[in-house]
Symmetry: C2
Subunit: 91 residues, 2 copies
């Protein structure tokens, strides 16, 4: 499904995902190089935190734009989909 | 710090990290292409779950090898470092 409306955080989200990919590449190199397990776990935890923060930005951007639009148009399927996404994203 | 002992899951961990990197690249493309936010959040959640599972494998491998070695040698700094890594990794 393609979006019809604008988001304001797309560039920010793409930059954060690029950094997370670079970070994960660095962790992979640590594993290949046999670096200390505890250091690897700490870096992996930092990547997870970065992905979570990026998810929060996507969620807020989505609520500010897509959801606001959908509520105005009384399109409740968007709210159902959002609830599903939140249930899957927040554990 | 470099490890002196062998792990048995290194190839498995490297493969899982490679897949997580590929998955994250696909999510970045979804954002650039303006795909639906809820779909993006669901995929991002799947990447986080994959990273968590990889972390668990690293942790178990670490306990089975590094920690077992350290306990035999009565090296308790390894246990302290492990506790620190667990506190940072498990939220």
């Amino acid at each position: 499904m393609q979006l019809e409306h604008k988001h304001t955080e797309t560039k920010n989200v793409v930059n954060r995902l690029s950094r997370a990919i670079g970070h994960l590449e660095a962790v992979k190199k640590m594993v290949i190089d046999g670096k200390d397990c505890t250091d690897i776990l700490i870096q992996l935890s930092a990547v997870n935190a970065a992905i979570n923060n990026t998810g929060k930005i996507i969620l807020v951007d989505h609520i500010r734009h897509c959801v606001a639009d959908a509520v105005e148009k009384e399109d409740h399927t968007v709210l159902d989909q959002l609830e599903d996404a939140i249930n899957k994203f927040i554990r």
